[in-house]
Every structure is written in C-alpha cells, then in structure tokens.
Symmetry: D3
Subunit: 237 residues, 6 copies
C-alpha cells in the first residue's frame, strides 16, 4: 500500500496501532561512472515495496535526499546538512505517530555513518517526546547485506562495488551503464578529510566487475526475507 | 533528463552555466475524500517533466514532503516544520549552484503561504551567500493556474476543488476516487487557528463536481506553456 | 489605555479574560522621497489608539522594527531577520497570555508577505503551547485597506503610493515632504532577487500624486470601523 | 534628529563616517505601585534626545522591550528571551553599519546584568563580522548614575527606588502615582531563583520616599553631560 | 568524594535529596607571564575539594574550559562560545537533577561577566523545566574574594594580579614562574572592543608583585569558610 | 607538555606549524559495579601523556564529559547532548588552529557512535572554515584496541568488559572495586530504544573476569605505539 495514493478517509479508517509504516530513504550521490546517482534510492524503494506486500504494511513516499560525506565533492552528489536530515526525520516520524502508527521502520539505502546517526538521533528524540510505546527500527539495507552468510561477499566491497552494482543490475538494469574498474581506497586512518575524493577519484570502493544480476537478485531476496522476519519479531514483542 | 538517472560523469561533462535545473516540490496532504494524499506531488512532477522536455532541462528528484498549515490535523497529512523545509531548500539550491547550475526553477505543487515563504527565504539566503549571478525562480504551478485567462475558473475554487480535481483526472485518473460535495469555508478573518479543519471538515475548498478531465488537460497545457515561456525569458535576460 | 503608562498593580487589578490587547507593529523602511521612514509605524499606532478608545482595549508599546524584503537595500531601512521578528512575536504574545489576556490583536503597519508569515508562525506556536482558548488576530491594516469598497482605489497602488501617502497626510501632515512621481515596477515574475530596488529606484510603487488628506481620513475611518467590528465579533464568539 | 522622521533620501545624503547614531533601549517592567511600566523607556529616550541635540546625532526609534529577570513574574512585565534580545541587537547594529554609521551608542534604560550581556554579545559579533573600524559604546544610563559623585546617592538604592523615582518625577511627573514604601530585599547570595519576586513583593528595591523632582533633574543633567563628554572623546580617538 | 572515582552502584545507593553536589569550573586563559593558563582551574578545584571534605559533598569533574572575553586574542587562551558554555551547563545541571541531587553549587574560578551570565541562564532554564525544589547556587570564588573584609585588598586588583598570584602561590607554587610588573589598564568606558588586549599587553590587571603565599593561604581559607557557611545555610532553608 | 601548566608567553614562543596538540576526551558514564565513572577518562589521559612524551607534543586539558547513549539512564552517567558536544569540539579545535597548531589529534576514551559522529562533524566544519592545511585526526583508543592482533581479544568484549577492566587495572588499580559477572546483551537489532539499560542491567557488555593487569599493560603499550606511529606518519605527509 502506497500511502501517497490513499485518501485522508482511507487513512482514518485503516491505520491503527497494529499497522506498520515503512519509510524508505535514499541519497543522490555519485556512484562511479556506471551507476546512477539514485542508486541508494532504487534499492530501499524496491525492498520497502516487497516487504510491504508481504506484511500488508504502508509504504511512505521515499525521501531521495540524504547526507553524504566522502562523496560530497563529486558532481551530482546532493547532500543535506546533518541537521537538515535530522529535522526531516523528526518531522516524518513524529507525523507517523500522530497519524496512529506504532510500528515504524526507516529503511535507508545510504549507509553512511553520519547519515545513520542523524536518523538515530531523530528517532531517539521522538521516542522521548511521546509516552506511548513505539516500535521504531532504523537501518540500512546494507546493514543486512553485509551480514549475509548465505552468499560470499568479497572483502572490502563497498560504495559502487560488487554488491551495489549487482543489486541495481537486478532491479533497474536499464540504468547500469557498463562497468568500472575496481578500486580499494587507502584512506589515511582516522583523518578528517577536506577532500576525501582524492583517495578514490573514480568514485569506486570495491570491484564492480565481479557483479552479476543473479547475485543481485539473491542479495535482494535475502535482504527482503530477513527484514520481513525482523519486522514480524518486532511487532510480536 | 532526470538527474537521478544520470552518472556523476554525465553531470561533470554536461552541466554548465547555461544548463537549467527544475526542482519539483510536493506535499503529502489531505485532499478531500476523492483525491490522493500526493495530489500536490503529481501535478508539479508532471509539469516539470514536460517543461524539461521542451527546454532540455534537468529535473531533480521531487521532494514529496512540504509544509502544511490548514490541513495539518487531518489524517494522512505529513507536514514538515517551517524551518525544516527552509533548511532543505537551502541545501538543495546550494548544491545545485555547487554543481554548476545558474538557472534554477523551484516548482511547488503546494501553494500554501507559509510553505512558499520558507522556499523564498531559503532562496534569498543562497543568493546572498554567492557572488555569481544566479537566476532563481520559485513558484507554485497554482500561481500560474489562478492567473489563466484562457479558461474560466469558478470563484473561490481552491484546495481539492475544481482545478485540482480536473488536473489529477487528466494526469492520474486511476487515483481519483469518485467526487465530493462542494464546500466553501468561512474562515474567521485574520484569526490564527489551532484547529482550522473545523471550518472545512470534508477537507474541500471549492467544488470538485465541476471538474472534468478536459479542463484538467487544458489547464496543464496552459501552465506548461506559460512556464516554458517564463523560463526562456529568464534565461535570455 | 496605554499599557506602558500603567503600573503593575493596575494590570493585576484590571486585566482579565475579557480584556483586549492590541499590539501595533511597524517597520523602519524607505518610503519614497516624500514619506518618513516610520510611515508603517504611524498608521497602525493611530489605528490602534482609536480602536482601543472605542473598545476599552489596552494598547501595547509599538514595536517599530519589522522585516523588510524589497526595500532592504535602501538607506534608512532597518530590517530584522525573519527569525528575529518571529522570536520577538513569540515572546510578546506569550507574555500577554501570561498576564491574563485571552483576546489579542496584532496590527502591523507593514504588510510584507515574509513579515506577516513570521507573525503568523509565532502566533501558531504560542497557541499550540497553551491549553487555554485564546482569540488571536494577526493582520495588517492594509489587509483591510485593500478590501474597502467604500472608496475607489487606483489599480496597482502600493508601497508609498496613493493610499499610504493620503493616510500620512491625514495623521502626520508635518512629516510629508512634498510628493513624488508615480512608478509601477515590473518585477520579473516569481524571481528571487538580490537587488529588488533596481526595479523601483525611487522607492515608489503607485502614484503618490493622487493622494489627498481627505482620502486618507476616510481610509482611516473605514479601517478603524472595520477593525472595531471584527474585534467585537471575535470577542463575542 | 529623529531618524524615523527622515526620508531615505535624507539618510543617503547626510549619513557618513562621522555621523553618530544613538539607539535608546527600554523595558516594559514592573516598577512598584507608583511608577509606570515604561519607566526604563522614559529615561533613556529623554537622555538620547538631549544628547543628540547637543551633538547633532541621529536618534533611532526606541526599542521598548527588553530582557527582565528578577521582575519577570510580576503582572505587566513583558520580557524578551535573552536570545531574542541578542538577535534584535545584532540586526539593529548591523543595519546601522550598513547605512554608513561608524559611531554607535546603545543606551539602555534597563540595566539588568543578563540584559546588558545580550547587548554586549551582539555588539561583539557585529564588530567581528566587519572589517571597518566601528566605535561602539553600549551602556545603561544607570551605569553613569551610580558613579555620580556630584550628588549623594543613598546606599542600596535600586529598582524603583530614589533615583528612578526622582528622574521620572523630573521627566514625566504626570505618570508618577504617589509614592511607595522603602524596601531593601535580602536575596539569598548567589542563588538562582525561580520566584525572585518573593523577596521584594512590592516590587521596590530602595526608598522612593526620598525622591524629589530636583534630584531627578540634577541626575538627568549629570548623565547627559557625562554621556556627551564620553561620546565626544570616543569620536575623537 | 570525587564523583568520577565512584561506581554507578555507589551513586544509586548514596545520592539522595539531601546530598550536595559541587561542580567546579575553570578556564584556560592567559594569566600574565608568570601564571599558568589553568590559573582559573586550580583555584576552584582546590576550594571545591576542601569544601566537599567539610560538608560530605560530591565533587564533579571540573570543566576546565570557559568563556573568555578580554583575553580571547592572547596565545594560550581557549575560549568557548557563550552558547556552548550555556549548553554544557544546562546538560550538567540537568543530569545532576536526574541523578537525584537537589543541592547544587556551581563554583567558577573564572569570573567574567559574560561567562557568569551563561551559567546563570542555564541554571534558570533548568529550574523552569523542573517542578521539584532545587537549591542552585552559582558563583565565582572571586565573588567571595572581593567581599572579604578580613583581609586588605589593593584597589583595582584583578586578572593575574595580587590575589590570583597569591592564591596560586599557596596552592601550586611550582607553577608560578617568577612575578610580573603591575599594570592597571584604562579601558575606554563602555566600549565594545575588538582587540581588548591592546589595553593590557602583558595580560596583567593589578600588581602581582604584592603577592605572597601567606596572603594566598589566608584568602583560600576565608573563601572556603564562607562558602561552607553559605552552603549550610542554603541546605537548611 | 601539559598546555595548562604553561604561560601565554611560552605558547607564543613555542607553538608553530610543526607543533602537535593532543586533546584527550572522556565521559562520565556507568561502567559496571567495579569500574569508576571516569573509566573513559583515565585511559585516554594516560595514553595522551605517554604519546606526548615520546613526540614532544602538547597535551590539552581533558574534557571529561561526553555523549552517552546506551548508558544514559544509569545513575552516575552524565551525558552531554549531541549538539553540545559538537559545539565544544568546534570551539576547541578552532582555538587550537587560532593558536597556531596544524597537527591536532582528538583522542576519545569513549567510543560511542553518536559521540564520535559529533566529533567528526565538528572537525569537518572547522576544516571547511579554514584555508590553511590542517592535519586533524579523531579517534578513540578503542578503535586501535579492537584492531590489535598482537593480543587475543575475547569475542564480543565491550563496555566495562575484559579490555577496559584490564586497562584500568594497569593504570589506576586503586579504582577497580573487585570484578563483575560477564554479560553479553542481546539488543533487538536496529531498534531505537528508550530504555536500553533493560538489556544489560548490570551495565556490563563482556567478561570482566577475564581481565588482568598484564593484559591491560600490554594493551596500553600497543595502543601507545600504534598511535605514535600514526601521528608520525600524519606529520610527515
């Protein structure tokens, strides 16, 4: 169920304490010479829709803009400030609670540390401000992807690498423009960098040439299965 | 051209000072018992794409969340705070400028006064912070709709009324669920209201029963034509 | 009754839930070569005093500084930032409520859109923060002036034009320094402007040469009558 | 010269680097049963006008609202938050600099520590943000009053006490409503208090019964003389 | 009792409504050529420990960073912004209240006006946000030092002068590097200064050459005695 | 070299572009029934001093307060808000740059994700605001501890567990009060929790009973060695 296609009456009549809301988040961000800027949008939106189908959940309109650190100086990246993202999240989660939702999943396609912290801070604030019990799960689908043991993942695979390329090949093959050379950046440890892009000038961290559509499909399946299972457990507790 | 489907390389090679960026904005907001919550998204996204086609402009991913005042207490409305919206706009416009755009159009499907003021304040701040010349246009397609003299518009037509219903009938007829009774609210003049919905409990301001697909198509055409013309003039000056 | 001339004891003994407070707001802003910078202060202060006399209302000290957009680069304009004005209004309205007022009218001589939005946002916040019923009216006397049908108003009359000049001629003729040529600016539609003054270099929008003291007196009377009537209705409901 | 009575043209032609601007500030604040709420406005406005006459300085419209701590719970007090006052001051000083003033005096009738700190912080910020040399003086006329040795001042005279009562008797005798009993509060040392008014329930700190019009006139003269002298020295350096 | 050396269990079992918490605050700030940058830390930490011993109070970890105005441009000074300091104090006081303390003393070695105002504002906010009765005392040990009449204090003694030098000689003689020439700065009255250090280039206000260890010991004793006495009175009331 | 024990003159004469500053950060936070609240302070302060000795670096006064998430509801924890910590860091790093440092290491004993993000955001802001080249390293000593392969680390060792207990046994054995039972909490995956302490009621994550002084000494040595090496590389590049 896409919330945006529903009317106010349908929300009033159907949303209650056992309803589940899934809010997909993306980023508009450089993803190498072969993947589209919306790579981080395509994946969570796909997952959210599939998960919602299986659980009868409501999917919210995706927020396609996120907070980007290491790719911030590349053309095409559109980053929000940390505080902007945090405020949006406060507003969106808070409005879901107002509307009656008590089970809320925020699923981000972008997994940057700073980005995820903004989401978490927003969530903590809204929980503190409400006395009702709210189940609030905030994660990136990549948090799941990297813990899969059903599938072998190359060491050091990351941004625009093997998994991401495979997953886009599986979901939106029309947007994959060839492939790209592997690159494994050596960031100087623990340094705060003004120009992080100098360490991965092609915008790749990993090896896109190992990507296959089949791997992408399998990764998506595993992610969807695990997420469904986690949400079911969350709702039951 | 949808910016989100492009790669970083494509942006680097193609965007320059004569490029045009169009940023569509919506709102998730009650729109009567017959129109979807994303009514204010559907219209500007449609217009932005058509205008971009004719001008060779870049369309940014729509921001589907806006600031809502009078509908804020209805189920389904998801409002951002004024400051949240202002900060997002500052970020998005500022990133477009960083990327090289000097011609930027922000097209909002939602025309609320407070919402529009947030956009304008953001725009003014970014202009002040940059020394380069930037053509920045911020408008709602309803600013154009209500000045059409090609078409007769019923007096007091507004939120979820004749024009909006017609336009959605023209763009996404599958999402129009029947029709709704006309209502012309009498807000007490100049009062700040805690519960504005008490003055239009069905969420309608205007007469949806006058709506026709043909009128909607004509309105969309006029809006697109005028916007194309205004942008062309802006770019030439 | 001027609140500023009263003592704390007089407030304690007299202010109760049926008392009415009127807060006049102005702006220090360019008003052509013939009108004083305080044009937007003179009018609401005059109106507030007259209205208060007829209603037994309390008049607060005028805040003479406001938020100015299009005149911001002229010498003599002293603009507050949007957030500054919003915060002042939050404080003033909130203090009136603390003092016991439940009927509050904010009357602004300056009618800029952004300025008015700051007032409205402040009002909404204070209403949300209080559980008591508060009648809060926020308006510009120009909101009334332009809806008068008792009097013929020239098309496109605006800033420092026929009405404003007439009203100052009626209230403070000593401050009107001659007259000025008419000017009807052509702002490029919907553009955010860094230097809006280039479109009206004399600081005039309208035709001051049509102004007369008689028209000004009549306009003031009509505004006062209508405002008295609106407040009476507000208090009774 | 009252800036508010001038036109934009007059400012453009006359204000230059040797011009002097005086910004009077007040407070709307409980001042015992005998003095008006605007006691802190009446004094600096009087002084500013007299000083400006002697120096050919420009007087800005007084800001009648300030930040009040110990009187905040009395009826009639209208306090701004610390941050509000700071922001207003930033705006006003910054606008004076934009307009061309390089000699600016902020004269506050209210001398509360927190209030004065807000002014000072604002001033420091604006100085840091500008590269030009700006002479900025921020003081309360009470900073001068209490250092007078021309006149004998009773020990522990303060809020609504002998000096304040005398000065209002000299400037606006019509607003002095009788007198009031002396009170010398014993605030517990260094405690932050939620209800400071419990320590001076009549709102008096000092002895109003010692007040005379003659003393007030003399105090005003001394303050004006000293301020003129200090400004002259400031401008010359 | 040093809170930082205790365990969570010890806090849980021992802290109750009659417990006393002392939070020492310092500054890292230029103190002439002879005193260490932590001069304002050494003194309150010493006093806090002694007072706590006598009262059975809990001493919190000292915050060694404060807000510095007049010394801000000297090498070695590390100033916090006003808002930073205010926020820290809000957090620390609020956490003490959460932990169960109802008697809280904030003892600052640095006595700058702006610095002290930040502390006071923070304290006022926390008191307002809590309904329980909280005894909150905020002071600088210099507030006591300058009111001592047990000891003769040179006129105009101040920053890095006779008292400060004496007290460090008494507490940490190893950190006193010789002495320094006396200096009594003539700040232009009431001016906001961009470079206040030009008026005391050696960083001294007073006469360090009058300092003696004995005077320092005596001053410390007096301060400790008076503070113990004030806290006892506070707790009893 | 402890910066706090130096004078302003010593800083002026000695600090230059090749100087190294180390800022240790801690937290006051529950650490089981056996470790002191300042566990996260003791470790980085020890490491910072040792590293500074070997490199001739300047050690700043430790900031003993940090941001705590999972332990926030335990008695004794004193958490700063995210924004407070971020602002302090902005101030401290910015002041180091003003003083002339170009090599800055922020070493946090607390390794919470949110806490570390606050530090990183502050660092990024200061780098952006300055045009000079600044080497800025921000890390927790636990970032190093967990990558040691010189020493075998138990799986799932964490807060107040084997490594932390061992290190405090090595540095401040007098503050270790016995030991505590092992606990390995099962946090529900990706949930934002209002009361995280319910999942580890003793405040332990790991097995303190495996701790030894020898292991702690060895861990400290390894951390110091690696940090020295990393800083040397940073400075050379």
């Amino acid at each position: 169920m896409l919330l945006e296609e529903m009317t106010t009456e349908e929300i009033r009549e159907n949303v209650n304490e056992s309803s589940i809301a899934i809010l997909p988040l993306g980023a508009i961000e450089e993803h190498g010479p072969h993947l589209p800027l919306s790579t981080d949008c395509i994946q969570p939106e796909y997952v959210a829709n599939k998960v919602a189908e299986r659980l009868g959940a409501y999917v919210l309109p995706i927020l396609k803009y996120g907070q980007c650190s290491s790719t911030k100086n590349f053309p095409g990246t559109i980053t929000l400030r940390f505080d902007t993202l945090r405020m949006i999240m406060e507003d969106l989660i808070s409005e879901l609670v107002r509307m009656g939702f008590r089970n809320i999943i925020v699923l981000s396609g972008h997994a940057g540390r700073t980005h995820m912290t903004a989401l978490k801070l927003a969530g903590e604030l809204i929980l503190e401000e409400h006395d009702v019990d709210i189940n609030l799960m905030i994660l990136s689908d990549y948090d799941i992807a990297y813990t899969m043991n059903e599938i072998e993942i190359p060491v050091n695979d990351g941004h625009a690498g093997m998994i991401e390329t495979s997953r886009i090949m599986a979901i939106r093959p029309d947007l994959v423009k060839g492939t790209a050379k592997s690159h494994h950046p050596n960031f100087p440890p623990f340094m705060v960098l003004k120009n992080p892009e100098q360490y991965f000038p092609t915008g790749i961290m990993g090896d896109p040439q190992l990507a296959t559509k089949e791997f992408g499909e399998r990764a998506n399946e595993v992610i969807i299965d695990k997420l469904v299972e986690m949400i079911q457990r969350m709702v039951m507790e």
